[in-house]
């Protein structure tokens, strides 16, 4: 399809397990973003890629969170040793421009992955 695709849509894991969430951005989009959205809250910034370079990871809540985008297209967000507070919807967004042009390019969002940690 033409939009941002995320998989899986739903993920249930036991506390302590590792999980990996995938994002396929819109083809040709330079910028890719991950957000965490807790219940009743707005999306919170996690990290930002420009092509394969991770330019900002200051929003990652702990060193258990790791994101990569090795070929500048698909990105994976990995959470190690999951905790109950990691339960949230994880949103991926992409935009056409690079960092210098970002502010003029709106972000296009995927449907998100709803992660539940038992």
């Amino acid at each position: 399809g033409a939009g941002v695709s995320q998989s899986p849509r739903y993920k249930v894991a036991k506390r302590g397990q590792d999980v990996a969430l995938r994002c396929d951005p819109i083809s040709g989009h330079v910028s890719l973003f991950w957000y965490q959205q807790a219940l009743g809250q707005g999306p919170e910034f996690l990290t930002y890629f420009q092509n394969e370079a991770q330019l900002d990871k200051s929003g990652l809540p702990s060193d258990r969170f790791f994101a990569e985008r090795p070929e500048g297209s698909v990105s994976t967000l990995k959470i190690q040793r999951t905790q109950q507070e990691d339960s949230a919807v994880y949103l991926c967004a992409s935009s056409l421009g690079g960092s210098s042009l970002f502010s003029n390019q709106p972000q296009h969002f995927g449907d998100g992955t709803r992660l539940s940690i038992l």
Partner: protein, 111 residues
């Protein structure tokens, strides 16, 4: 750090009523402003955006927003809502290389 405030998290109104959702941001420098909408079961979609120029911005589906720099506000309006406007609305501000979202307004339009 950039922050965005939205008030009246839950809004219930009848069809044909007017809607106004408030948004205030904290960043004092140059900022780009957005309203996103999330219809039930769908992903976030851009409703309208402000970068520069005319502070009154027209968006899709009859929505508009007014940027008032002196008040750090970017309120969303629609003169006459429809049942299909039932959704969650998020205000967002871009500054310092990141997009900050408000907590959202859950709007329910009763037919």
């Amino acid at each position: 750090a950039q922050s965005v405030s939205q008030h009246n998290h839950h809004v219930i109104l009848s069809e044909a009523a007017s809607l106004e959702l408030g948004c205030n941001y904290s960043y004092g420098g140059t900022v780009n402003l957005f309203w996103y909408v999330q219809y039930p079961g769908q992903h976030l979609q851009l409703l309208l955006k402000y970068f520069s120029g005319d502070p009154l911005v027209k968006g899709i589906k009859g929505f508009e927003a007014e940027f008032i720099k002196s008040k750090f506000s970017f309120n969303l309006r629609k003169p006459s809502v429809q049942w299909s406007d039932t959704a969650e609305y998020f205000c967002a501000a871009y500054g310092n290389n990141r997009l900050a979202f408000g907590k959202g307004n859950q709007v329910v339009v009763i037919p």
